[in-house]
């Protein structure tokens, strides 16, 4: 099968959807002439003249204008440059985008995708390295997805664009150059928003993760296998809604749950999974739930400090061994 990068996979999704539906347009900073700061929009403006717009550096306009365009009948895909900048337009996300359908009694439909690169990369430091998914999953009205590989990057983006609800599409900056198998055919089975995938089968422990965190989940599973521990690994892909059924079915089998993400551990999305498991299936658990996330501090610049807050597969291995 053909191998392409995560970034190319998102581009293919965009191009296929924009060809299908002329109401789709794209706006954000540095996406038309530059092709996106990570190259994730490269060539799209040339392929679709007038439909890929370089905006002013005006996040409230990008987000609020996207909502208004969606209200008027267009299907915008907007780019947040870095997820960190969503703070600039949080009103537009929280109070307009997420609320319009509900507070207007179903009159409004906001078929908008907000793409936002996230995560730690190359000492980008405190304001360009965050993972803010937990914030966004706390807001009813938004859907939140975050793929971990090129195939899902394409299929999940297509599903997000198809959705009539606002979807936050979080894409790990580190994953852009990651290669993976993506079939060329356009009629792959569509991804259904909200579904997780069991990406590795095992009977001893369930490791749940998403996005860049999947590196740790799969890395740990490899190491554990050498020691005779068979980890089942679940890629959530979608965080709001999240696939409780798939996670719980696995935990009922393995009786152990470990959750890992790059975002700050305190009030991180792992807390939601852990709390729900404790509420609903605690009787199946043979060990306390393990949670991994960044320590409660901003991401530093110096390489020594940046490395310190990151999680590595070995961290999980040590903890998981302690569950037995």
């Amino acid at each position: 099968m053909r191998t392409i990068t995560f970034s190319q996979a998102t581009l293919e999704a965009m191009a296929e959807e924009m060809t299908r539906d002329e109401k789709i347009f794209v706006m954000g900073e540095d996406i038309a002439r530059q092709g996106g700061i990570f190259g994730q929009f490269k060539g799209l403006a040339q392929q679709f003249p007038g439909r890929v717009l370089d905006t002013p550096i005006s996040e409230t306009f990008i987000a609020g204008g996207g909502v208004g365009a969606a209200m008027a009948g267009a299907r915008p895909v907007i780019d947040m440059h870095y997820v960190d900048f969503i703070g600039v337009c949080m009103d537009e996300v929280l109070n307009q985008m997420a609320k319009a359908r509900y507070m207007f009694g179903g009159q409004a439909k906001i078929p908008l995708v907000l793409r936002a690169p996230d995560g730690i990369i190359n000492q980008a430091a405190a304001q360009h390295s965050q993972s803010l998914e937990a914030w966004l999953t706390h807001i009813p009205g938004l859907r939140v997805v975050t793929p971990s590989n090129p195939y899902d990057a394409k299929m999940v983006l297509k599903a997000a664009i198809h959705s009539d609800d606002p979807v936050i599409y979080l894409e790990s900056k580190v994953l852009y150059k990651e290669k993976g198998e993506v079939p060329e055919i356009e009629d792959e089975k569509p991804y259904e928003l909200g579904k997780a995938k069991v990406v590795r089968n095992g009977k001893d422990v369930t490791i749940v993760s998403y996005s860049i965190g999947m590196k740790n989940a799969l890395g740990a599973a490899d190491i554990l296998a050498k020691d005779g521990i068979e980890a089942e690994v679940i890629d959530l892909i979608s965080l709001s809604p999240w696939d409780k059924e798939t996670v719980f079915n696995s935990v009922k089998k393995t009786h152990r749950l470990c959750i890992v993400h790059e975002a700050v551990k305190q009030s991180g999305f792992g807390a939601e999974i852990a709390a729900t498991a404790a509420e609903e299936i605690i009787e199946y658990l043979d060990a306390p739930i393990l949670r991994y996330g960044s320590p409660f501090c901003p991401i530093a610049f110096a390489p020594t400090l940046e490395k310190k807050v990151k999680i590595f597969p070995e961290d999980l291995v040590e903890g998981i061994k302690g569950m037995f």
């Binding site: 439909r51 409230t60 204008g65 008027a72």
Partner: protein, 327 residues
């Protein structure tokens, strides 16, 4: 007959007066019922500012859209919403425009291009600008978007981001400032060192116009010109309509920050309905009796709206999750 008189028909004048009278009666009824404890939540009165929504919406096509404010009942009426369903919404009933999900601060009627009141001051600029972008660049229609906002909202950063983008891309959007001189409880000039908001238009390379916000004909003319520019691809206009906020910031506001007697005096001098009666009489367009007749009709219409709201059911509690997401 003077040339000026020939500008407008009797029907047009009567339509404007009827819209203003409907808004006035609607707001009086809401105020009464709110203070009587029959309407929950918050509500903000448009009394005294009726001429702006009326004049602006008279210059719009049915398929043009408006983004409104927390003080949005007048905009909703003027754009053509059914007052029965409006009133039902304000009472939180299932027959309301938003099926009881929104209330006064989130009243909307997408079927007539009223894209919603907004509980966030300054939240509407980008919505209207985005709608205008969709019309021009994506849907390729000649529709126009209008955003209403107050002088208080003019100090939000969103003002700048929307006006700049609208101007840069020459989008078909009209920015209508309702200069009522109060940002909630704070006098405008104590928080802004510029007399006219419309002067800011220079900074965006777009026309800025000051208009008498108590005169629906003046507002209509200014909007007509702005809409013509917008529809013709010439971009946005910033209109500043000078008006007065006769009621408090919200219904029930004790108004500790101003002299109520002065406000009452101001209202006697600037009541847009009285001024319009006088003007149309002078122009020979309408008689006092004709205006009285319209008032009576509007009174009846609002009474029926209230009855409709009062006799409607609340939404069934089993439906609380409906509309969080599309089905």
């Amino acid at each position: 007959m003077s040339a000026k008189k020939n500008l407008y028909t009797k029907e047009f004048a009567a339509r404007l007066y009827e819209t203003m009278s409907t808004i006035r009666k609607f707001e009086e009824s809401v105020k009464h019922d709110f203070l009587a404890g029959e309407i929950p939540g918050f509500t903000h009165s448009y009394i005294g500012e009726e001429a702006i929504a009326t004049g602006v919406c008279a210059a719009l096509r049915p398929d043009d859209v408006i983004a409104s404010t927390h003080r949005g009942h007048g905009h909703c009426v003027a754009k053509g919403a059914d007052v029965k369903r409006m009133m039902a919404e304000i009472f939180g009933k299932r027959t309301g425009l938003c099926q009881g999900r929104g209330g006064s601060m989130h009243i909307a009627d997408f079927s007539i291009g009223m894209l919603g009141a907004n509980g966030v001051v300054g939240g509407g600029y980008n919505l209207a600008t985005g709608a205008a972008l969709a019309f021009k660049n994506v849907l390729k229609t000649d529709q126009v978007a209008v955003v209403f906002f107050g002088d208080g909202a003019s100090n939000r950063g969103t003002f700048h981001e929307a006006l700049n983008a609208a101007s840069a891309w020459q989008l078909p959007v009209v920015f209508v400032c309702e200069m009522n001189c109060w940002a909630s409880t704070t006098p405008y000039r104590s928080i802004c060192n510029v007399e006219n908001i419309s002067d800011r238009a220079v900074g965006y390379g777009i026309p800025g116009v000051v208009v008498d916000g108590q005169d629906p004909l003046a507002v209509y003319e200014a909007t007509k010109e702005a809409v013509k520019r917008a529809r013709g691809g010439k971009g946005p206009t910033l209109i500043e309509a000078k008006t007065c906020r006769i009621e408090g910031h919200y219904v029930g506001d004790p108004e500790l920050y101003r002299d109520k007697q002065e406000v009452r005096k101001l209202f006697r001098e600037t009541d847009p309905l009285l001024l319009f009666r006088k003007k149309t009489a002078e122009l020979g367009l309408m008689t006092a009796e004709e205006c009285d007749e319209i008032d009576k009709r509007c009174d009846q219409k609002i009474k029926e709206a209230k009855d409709f709201a009062m006799t409607s059911e609340y939404p069934d509690e089993s439906e609380y999750l409906k509309y969080v997401y599309c089905e």
